[in-house]
Symmetry: C2
């Protein structure tokens, strides 16, 4: 087994259960000359993927690239049931058509990260096996878990201790997800650290069936743009995988400085060495966080679109940002009466010379020619353009990078 491959595959992983389990599975794969089966479950009620999901998906892609196979399980069994209590209006049963449509949208998004070729990826619907189970089968499944084990799940134990109702059917969901692992003979299940419990149920059920248990790799949860909660659609703190380049770049530029090391690690394709160096530089204040952010933003747009889109997005962002900066700039005020003294109107070059007496006319002419002079946000390149004094308003001039002037009527 290739030790550096193992290092690569474990890079960024938060929890490996059991410890050294992956090394064991890779050896098994080599010995038995077979690909490992990596499980990925998908709830077809929420098909919008974001960078938080991509943390796990990108790790899976690494496994695909190392020759292993991904099995995607569309959880249509529960989606078709919806909320059996009927209390949860946001979880109505989905029709087979909606599920299929959501699955297609999902696969389309996955294609931004994963290798979708048939030998590297298989798609299943778990209604195929869960829908075929009888009450008797369910009892057999439930006999493999105890109430106390399931109540250990963090949200369950919290609700139980708070006295908030836990429907008996909710206790089935981890078991169903676990049963999927038995059905597809999963070698590896991956998820966010918040999915660890469910993944471990799958391992326990496989072992209760006398099979070799899947190993579980938990990836850290990416914190969202708010810098507080995990990235999630419901917190509106996310960057979606299918967002246009401009939006993606702009959102990436709003990543809080403190999260830059996390985003470098979990959201970029930079090498381990590059990431290590940037993290060091950030920690030592040897680099402007804004510059690192530009790097991260460009890298993200390149991953989900392409390099050209990333460049354009950067330019677009710069312009937007610049305009925005302009708006927020304090303009040096001049009275129209003073500047226009004795004139009904003035040529742009003359106006600039009056606002900016420290600059030579030839320098001003060059700035105008280089589009570095704008009036009320509009770049003017004709030095002879005539400009009238403002009536009941201000005119904003920008001359070069640092000259901001307002003529007030």
């Amino acid at each position: 087994m290739n030790a550096s491959l193992l290092d690569d595959l474990l890079r960024g992983v938060a929890i490996e259960t059991p410890p050294r389990g992956l090394a064991g599975k890779l050896k098994e794969s080599e010995k038995e000359k077979r690909s490992l089966i990596v499980k990925l479950g998908f709830d077809p009620t929420a098909p919008d993927l974001h960078l938080g999901h991509a943390v796990v998906l990108r790790k899976m892609r690494q496994f695909q690239d190392a020759g292993h196979k991904l099995v995607i399980i569309i959880g249509d069994f529960t989606a078709r049931i919806g909320d059996p209590t009927g209390r949860n209006k946001t979880r109505p049963p989905l029709s087979p058509e909606t599920i299929k449509q959501n699955a297609l949208t999902y696969l389309d998004q996955l294609s931004k990260v994963l290798d979708m070729s048939r030998e590297k990826l298989k798609v299943c619907f778990n209604d195929d096996w869960l829908g075929a189970m009888t009450f008797r089968d369910v009892i057999g499944l439930l006999a493999k878990a105890t109430v106390a084990q399931l109540l250990q799940r963090e949200d369950f134990s919290k609700r139980y201790n708070e006295g908030t109702a836990i429907g008996m059917h909710e206790m089935l969901y981890p078991l169903m997800q676990g049963y999927d692992s038995i059905e597809i003979n999963a070698d590896i299940e991956m998820g966010g650290t918040d999915q660890l419990f469910n993944c471990l149920v799958g391992r326990a059920l496989q072992e209760a069936e006398g099979k070799s248990g899947q190993i579980v790799l938990s990836m850290p949860l990416l914190v969202g743009l708010d810098g507080k909660e995990k990235m999630s659609k419901s917190y509106n703190n996310y960057i979606g995988l299918t967002e246009p380049p401009h939006d993606m770049y702009g959102k990436a530029m709003s990543i809080p400085d403190t999260l830059l090391p996390m985003y470098l690690e979990l959201a970029t394709t930079l090498t381990a060495q590059e990431i290590a160096r940037l993290k060091e530089d950030l920690a030592a204040d040897k680099v402007n966080p804004m510059d690192v952010k530009k790097l991260v933003a460009a890298n993200i747009v390149t991953q989900y679109h392409d390099e050209k889109s990333a460049e354009e997005a950067a330019q677009y962002f710069y312009n937007q940002f610049q305009n925005k900066a302009d708006e927020e700039k304090s303009y040096e005020p001049f009275a129209a009466a003073q500047i226009y003294e004795g004139a009904q109107e003035l040529a742009l070059l003359d106006l600039c010379a009056r606002l900016c007496p420290q600059e030579s006319k030839s320098q001003l002419r060059r700035l105008i020619a280089a589009s570095a002079v704008s009036v009320d946000g509009e770049k003017l390149t004709d030095p002879a353009a005539l400009i009238k004094p403002p009536v009941d308003k201000e005119i904003h001039f920008r001359i070069g990078k640092r000259g901001f002037y307002a003529i007030i009527s």
Copy 2:
């Protein structure tokens, strides 16, 4: 509605849920001109019925006699599964043949208490509906209960708090039993007070289905012959419904005095007035508990056999008891050499005269003729029977009620 009928039906009932529920159901029955459906579940793994079961059965018989219908549910669904964890060796899955055989044995025992006519009693097997349920149906069923509700069951909460494992499948059993109530449209479920929880689950499930919930009547638990635990085969403190008259009578005579009021109330067919009077007399020491016990024993044997068997059993018990009493009696010892002085053998009458010189020979002759004289437990009626002196042993004589003599070699 007949108020005295209501009183009769509620007589001996420990818990009625909801309060006044039975009056409501009886009114409904009158108004809709239909019989009420009384549910009786049976676990086909344990077909030995005893007086403890009969407490509930006799109450059901009252409902049959009032025109209502009993639906017996043979719980073959779980019996066919056995213990799905495989840990409990005493609960192997039962074959359909064994279940049928157990059901027949059960029905045979029921016939000792219930009206088995077709219009008064129906038998169902719950595998017919539970066995047909899919995983989806199970989820719908489980959604109607919460974890906390089920953990309220006394044995569950005890085990949970002690940290003893509760298999998830065990939590299903109350729900399955409850589902049976939906299926047969039960109006009334009856059971011991230890079954109250399961019965209430049935009521809750019916209501969750938008149906009228069954009312629950809990009968007190009959304490067994040990005076401590509830009557149960596993404590070996029971009187079986099919035991022979002699055993039944003998066991009944071992009921602890303190339990006589309970047995009068829960195990006899005496009228409310008779029971009230006997309880008062017992409390006031106006009656010998042994005499009340004879009454209870005879009543029980009469119920499960007949009056003649009860009389014979009483006689048999009396003889056994008397013999036993004899054995425990202290015998007045005489040396053989002294009694037989000068004789090789003696006629019974002469021997009695020598042992009992205070009695006249004519009185002794009468006692012998009345079978009131026995030698070593054997009644002898021939006054001329020759009796040799004992060699290396004792001979025990009983003469009349109070004369106990031993001739020692």
